[in-house]
């Protein structure tokens, strides 16, 4: 109950932000919403399927580049651009996942990382298509028509609302996934793959399904980022980017569905706020993260649950 009230309050506060805060905050929070989709999709794997992927940036970047190329080359509509990001993330995850789900634990993590490095190399080297290390710039948001109402997404505040609603929708959809029969099969795989197999679950197939769903949402998040930044570069596929959703999930707590969303808020805001104060931001960010992970080993939501149980 407290949780539901809290979610409603936060949501209302977020709706109020554009009329109260500067464009800096509007931009930053839009990025937070995108990261929340990305981190939650990652946690479908870590928190619900028991698979530690260290290569989710690959699908994020594939979605981002697909969106950029669609707009640049075909001037696609908003929905088609986003659908492109989603489908591209899904397909690439399906192909890469086919190989990765044969492995578990550390080997799975290494393999996902290796494939993401491969995607990075392709983006970096395929100049003709991707612009290499220059990336693709000056991407403008397509017009947005909602039931005859023409909304200009070029306005940062309107795009903010659009992404807020998209993030709420995506996170709700992913929540439906984890509560569905499929979601429970994934949890069974996480808890005890052997037991799952011996009650008739073809576990590799289900790991692959989870991987592809996570890839699709990561791709969608990537396309929303392209529309936010108006610019894509190979950095999006760099292995360090794959660490972002991992950190967010650890900070927020990956045993809780909304943990990664909370983590996305804290991590993105911290990173930005510290980096405008000092060039040594990595040092301070590292210290803050260390403290969080050491003091709250199950993340903030984990600590909250423990505290609730005690009282």
């Amino acid at each position: 109950m407290i949780k539901k009230i809290l979610i409603v309050i936060v949501f209302l506060a977020l709706i109020a932000v554009p009329s109260l805060a500067s464009n800096y905050w509007v931009f930053l929070l839009t990025e937070v919403f995108i990261m929340a989709i990305f981190a939650t999709s990652f946690n479908l794997l870590l928190g619900y399927t028991g698979l530690m992927s260290f290569g989710q940036a690959a699908y994020y970047a594939v979605g981002a580049y697909t969106a950029a190329l669609l707009i640049k080359n075909f001037a696609t509509s908003l929905w088609l651009t986003m659908a492109g990001g989603l489908v591209a993330g899904f397909i690439v995850a399906l192909i890469i996942g086919f190989f990765c789900v044969r492995m578990t634990a550390l080997y799975f993590a290494m393999l996902t990382m290796a494939f993401s490095s491969l995607i990075f190399a392709v983006i970096f080297k395929w100049r003709d298509l991707t612009g290499g290390d220059d990336g693709i710039s000056a991407i403008t948001r397509p017009p947005f028509n909602l039931f005859g109402l023409d909304l200009s997404l070029g306005d940062a505040k309107i795009y903010y609302f659009f992404v807020l609603i998209m993030a709420a929708l995506c996170i709700w959809l992913m929540h439906r996934v984890v509560e569905s029969p499929l979601g429970y099969i994934l949890r069974a795989n996480r808890d005890n793959a052997k037991r799952a197999e011996f009650i008739g679950v073809p576990i590799k197939r289900f790991r692959l399904i989870a991987f592809a769903i996570a890839g699709a949402f990561a791709g969608l998040a990537g396309s929303l980022y392209t529309l936010l930044a108006g610019f894509v570069s190979p950095e999006l596929a760099f292995w360090a980017k794959s660490g972002d959703p991992v950190m967010m999930s650890l900070i927020g707590g990956f045993h809780s569905f909304l943990g990664p969303t909370l983590g996305a808020f804290i991590y993105t805001l911290l990173k930005d706020l510290i980096s405008i104060k000092t060039d040594n931001w990595l040092l301070y960010l590292g210290i803050v993260l260390l403290v969080i992970v050491l003091v709250l080993p199950e993340g903030i939501t984990g600590a909250w649950k423990k505290w609730q149980r005690k009282n």
Partner: protein, 255 residues
């Protein structure tokens, strides 16, 4: 006797597996009839668990064949074999620790009802799933602790939960690896009672390994004795009890 005209459900021919020089299971033949309760006994390291691993597709045999209901199942994957109707429990209790008791049983119910690919409904709100899960929890007497997490259960309750999980699969054959190991006398009695009831009321075929001879002689229709990977005796409980080889190899050693 009840099994005289029953059909053979599990036919095992010359089943063998070796790990290098170690011949863990050697040329084991076995016929298990429908609705039979078969005990597989033998000292530690005799190959009982390995035998289960071979039958359920967890290990590939180096030779031999397993037929289930006249279909060859050797070489099939564990999940396929499970879906055909052979369920097993593990010597080291194997449940879903972070799921509640209810969810532990709901998962195989979802598999059994072929709903695993359903993305559009909330699992716990599907009437048939709730009913089937509730019925099994009642059957094994775990309904009072349906909301407890698996990992918080006592050892005996975990063992019972595992039986509930495999029952939810609606198997025709249960392979139980040491179902009463580590249980109190009371828990053992209730498990024995449960297995007997499953056999009597639902016609389930049971193959189980067991160290407790009281349990073995209480419920078995037929006993096979395994030693160093080979069947050294098999027959009705009374025959096995008086078999010289068995007394030397196994029962004698315990007394």
């Amino acid at each position: 006797m009840k099994l005289e005209n029953a059909k053979v459900l599990l036919k095992i021919e010359g089943l063998s597996v070796s790990f290098g020089e170690l011949h863990a299971v050697q040329k084991v033949d076995m016929l298990v009839k429908k609705n039979e309760i078969r005990a597989l006994i033998g000292p530690n390291g005799a190959g009982k668990t390995t035998f289960f691993n071979l039958v359920t597709g967890d290990l590939k045999p180096t030779a031999g064949r397993v037929y289930y209901d006249e279909k060859l199942i050797t070489g099939r994957s564990s999940d396929e074999i499970a879906n055909m109707g052979i369920a097993r429990s593990f010597q080291i209790t194997s449940i879903f620790p972070d799921l509640t008791v209810f969810e532990n049983v709901m998962v195989p119910v979802l598999v059994q009802q072929k709903r695993t690919l359903n993305l559009f409904r909330q699992a716990k709100k599907i009437g048939e799933v709730k009913d089937a899960t509730g019925a099994i929890l009642e059957q094994v007497g775990l309904n009072e602790i349906a909301n407890a997490e698996g990992k918080t259960l006592s050892h005996g309750d975990k063992k019972r939960l595992e039986i509930a999980i495999i029952l939810a699969n609606k198997p025709d054959v249960l392979l139980l690896d040491e179902p009463t190991a580590g249980m109190s006398q009371e828990e053992t009695d209730s498990t024995v009672h449960l297995v007997k009831r499953l056999s009597d009321e639902m016609g389930i075929t049971v193959v189980f390994t067991e160290h407790d001879m009281k349990v073995v002689f209480a419920i078995s229709d037929y006993i096979s004795v395994l030693q160093q990977g080979q069947i050294i005796a098999d027959g009705l409980p009374d025959d096995v009890r008086s078999n010289k080889n068995v007394i030397e190899a196994y029962i004698g050693e315990n007394k």
